[in-house]
């Protein structure tokens, strides 16, 4: 095995071990029963309500981000072509 593969594998395993120890060693504060919502089983209505009331500002900002990404990606990929 090449050194790079071995080293990468080793570091990934190390990181996984640390995370795993963290996860399985903590007592998570969870509900005892998973909630069952029969009126809105896929939570779409609930998510929509949250987006447009509490998180409307991040939503609008996200749209701006996507716009900027669009423009930037097209500009960079296009390169220095003479118009």
């Amino acid at each position: 095995m090449q050194t790079k593969k071995l080293a990468a594998f080793g570091i990934a395993v190390l990181f996984l071990a640390v995370l795993g120890l963290g996860i399985f060693g903590t007592s998570w504060n969870t509900v005892s029963e998973l909630p069952e919502n029969f009126e809105d089983p896929s939570n779409v209505e609930g998510i929509g309500m949250l987006i447009f009331t509490h998180y409307v500002v991040p939503f609008e900002v996200l749209s701006l981000v996507l716009l900027a990404t669009l423009i930037g990606a097209i500009y960079m990929a296009k390169g220095e072509e003479s118009k």
């Binding site: 080293a7 990468a8 570091i11 990934a12 190390l14 990181f15 071990a17 640390v18 963290g22």
Partner: protein, 669 residues
């Protein structure tokens, strides 16, 4: 104005003359000689008046002081010892300055000369009348500096510059010993006095002397021998005197010091500076008396030097070299005179100083006459002279008078004789007493042998220079009046001073340490030193009384036969093939041993080696620091691979390790 209040002017006036002549001498006629002459004349008059006052009333010693800083003071002490030396120094200096007006008339650097001799006179006078040992040491160093400046007066000549350097360095060895002695003394005094006393000056001579009984009780352990502190201190002081007064082994600078102008040789190396060492031992004589074995060392070194220098004087061909070795020899006599104080106590100061003053007169006269001859004839070498008496009668007569004084011609038991006769006789008789009393006959033997050789070399000089037919073509004329008048005055003193003042002088000096300033019981001190003083001098056998003059006449006879009648062919005796002659002429190879082998070979070699070692060492240390830094940089730069994945890997690995580390630390602690 009381005369005592003018005492401080004695060194100050020549010092002012130095400043004025140094800056304004060029603009003044005769190169600014008149100001130093006037100031030294004033000092002479003041010292003479003070001396006369002291003669009338030996109890009234001039003693003044002002505080300087810390526990030091600046002070003036004029007791009989200082008074006679002050008068002699200022008188001889005055005459030599007048002579120098004529001698240095054609020299372009006259202002510098007169300024430097004026400074020298000021320093010497300050040395004599200083009342504490630090002031003496400061003046001592200043006198050494002026000697360096004046020996190297014609500094464009490389031999003169080298001679000045040699003089300074050799006397420096002595000065270091002197300073060490002062340090030991100060440490002991501070210990005995328990700290610096309020308003008291520990290093004033009267204070030092009052501590002598306590000092003699202190002992040190040197290489397994028990040595009294006083012995150490006095021997270190004597070391300083050895350097300054040209005793063996630090005498090597005096013959080379003849590179300076002849008036410098007369002033510094005959009459004044070289006597500073004798003055030091005389001034601290109570300490020497209370220190076991010190006076014996002084006597032996003095006696040996007297003989040693005289053996070299008989083969020299340069007029001034003969006189230089003669000076060393006579200084040996003076030290011997002090050293026999082990047997005769306080009288030793008297006889030694008597010889010092007489020697100043006739040795200065000898040098000035030699200068007169050199000035007229233009050469130093006696082999080219001969018959100078026809050309320069005054010089011939005065020089002969001086030669008679040096050889010590006179009639014992009476008051008829030259000065040198009385003073040298006194020393030789005391050496006899010393030998008889303590069984050490060597000093007496040295002094008699040296007397014989003294007579030989000085009459050799006279016959070779002044009599016979001229051996080369030298043209010349008698010197001007400014030069012959001092010669005449000095000749008169050389002839009659001894006879006139013999008993009075020595009695006057014996009062030095028993007056109102320093109250010492010298008998008690001698007991401390373990010396048995002669209580009553028995009459010496007539043979011993007549031996010195007999020996002097034998010496005269030898040189008469060899150099006047030329009865024996000297070509074989005085050639390089004769091993004894070669040994003496090469001055016992001292230059080779001391300078070439010791100084240049050993000392300079060691120093150069160490310097190179330090160089290499420091260089390597500094370089290694830089090498380490650069190597670390070279090694660590490989972390920057430029590949993004490496960076990501390192970040993740670092975070994981950090978390583990924190967890471990919080668990462990």
């Amino acid at each position: 104005m009381a005369l005592e209040n003018l005492a401080f002017l004695i060194p100050v006036l020549p010092a002012l003359a130095f400043v004025i002549t140094f800056f304004f001498g060029k603009k003044m006629p005769s190169g600014g000689a008149i100001i130093p002459i006037l100031s030294i004349a004033a000092s002479f008059i003041i010292s003479l008046l003070i001396t006369l006052g002291l003669l009338a009333n030996p109890e009234e010693v001039v003693s003044q002081s002002i505080p300087w800083f810390a526990m030091l003071n600046l002070g003036v002490l004029i007791d009989p010892l200082a008074a006679v030396m002050l008068t002699m120094v200022s008188f001889v200096s005055l005459l030599i300055h007048i002579y120098a007006v004529g001698y240095m008339a054609h020299d372009p650097a006259k202002p510098r000369y007169f300024a430097e001799t004026s400074l020298f006179t000021a320093a010497m006078l300050a040395l004599i009348l200083s009342d504490n040992i630090i002031q003496l040491f400061v003046s001592w160093e200043l006198v050494g500096l002026c000697s360096y400046l004046l020996i190297g007066f014609w500094f464009e000549k490389p031999s003169a510059a080298a001679a000045a350097k040699k003089a300074f360095l050799t006397t420096r060895v002595g000065d270091v010993m002197f300073l060490t002695g002062i340090i030991v003394l100060t440490t002991d005094l501070l210990k005995l006095a328990g700290g610096i006393p309020e308003g008291g000056y520990l290093l004033r001579f009267n204070e030092i002397f009052s501590y002598i009984p306590q000092l003699s009780a202190l002992e040190a352990n040197l290489f397994g021998l028990k040595v009294s502190h006083l012995t150490i201190i006095t021997l270190l002081f004597f070391g300083g005197a050895v350097g300054k007064s040209g005793q063996f082994p630090l005498h090597v600078w005096l013959p080379d010091a003849m590179e300076g102008p002849t008036t410098v040789s007369a002033l510094i190396h005959a009459a004044t500076m070289v006597t500073a060492g004798v003055y030091l031992v005389a001034r601290t004589f109570p300490m020497f008396l209370a220190a076991p074995d010190s006076l014996l060392v002084v006597a032996y070194v003095g006696g040996f030097t007297a003989l040693f220098a005289a053996t070299m004087g008989i083969v020299m061909n340069d007029i001034k070299r003969v006189l230089a070795f003669s000076t060393i020899s006579q200084l040996g006599y003076m030290m011997l005179g002090l050293g026999v104080g082990a047997a005769i106590g306080m009288e030793a100061v008297g006889i030694s100083l008597f010889h010092l003053v007489n020697h100043a007169f006739f040795k200065a006269l000898l040098f000035l006459c030699a200068g007169s001859v050199i000035h007229a004839v233009g050469t130093h070498d006696m082999r080219e002279l001969g018959g100078v008496a026809k050309v320069m009668p005054i010089t011939a007569i005065t020089m002969t008078a001086a030669a008679l004084a040096l050889a010590g011609i006179g009639i014992p038991g009476t008051s008829i004789g030259t000065s040198g006769f009385f003073s040298k006789d006194a020393i030789i008789e005391s050496a006899y007493l010393f030998g008889e009393h303590s069984g050490n006959w060597l000093p007496y033997g040295f002094s008699i042998a040296a007397a014989l050789l003294t007579s030989v070399y000085i009459f050799r000089l006279i016959f070779m220079t002044f009599t016979g037919k001229p051996r080369s073509n030298y043209g010349g004329h008698e010197s001007p009046a400014s030069m012959t008048v001092p010669l005449a005055i000095l000749a008169v003193f050389a002839l009659v001073f001894g006879g006139l003042t013999q008993t009075g002088f020595m009695q006057f000096l014996e009062e030095t340490f028993s007056n109102n300033f320093v109250n010492l019981d010298l008998g008690r001190l001698a007991v401390l030193g373990g010396y048995e003083l002669v209580q009553s001098a028995s009459a010496e056998p007539t043979f011993i009384l007549w031996l010195p003059i007999l020996v002097a006449l034998i010496g005269f006879g030898i040189s008469f036969v060899l150099y006047y009648l030329k009865a024996v062919d000297l070509g074989v005796l005085a050639s390089e093939k004769n091993p004894i002659y070669k040994l003496l002429y090469r001055r016992y190879y001292q230059h080779e041993i001391f300078t070439e082998f010791f100084s240049i070979g050993i000392v300079y070699g060691v120093v150069a080696f160490l310097a190179q070692l330090v160089d290499v060492l420091i260089d390597s240390i500094v370089e290694s620091i830089s090498i380490v830094t650069v190597a670390a940089g070279e090694a660590l730069k490989r972390l920057q691979t430029g590949v993004v994945q490496t960076y990501a890997a390192v970040v993740v690995a670092g975070v994981s390790l950090l978390i583990i580390l924190i967890k471990l630390i919080t668990e462990v602690l």
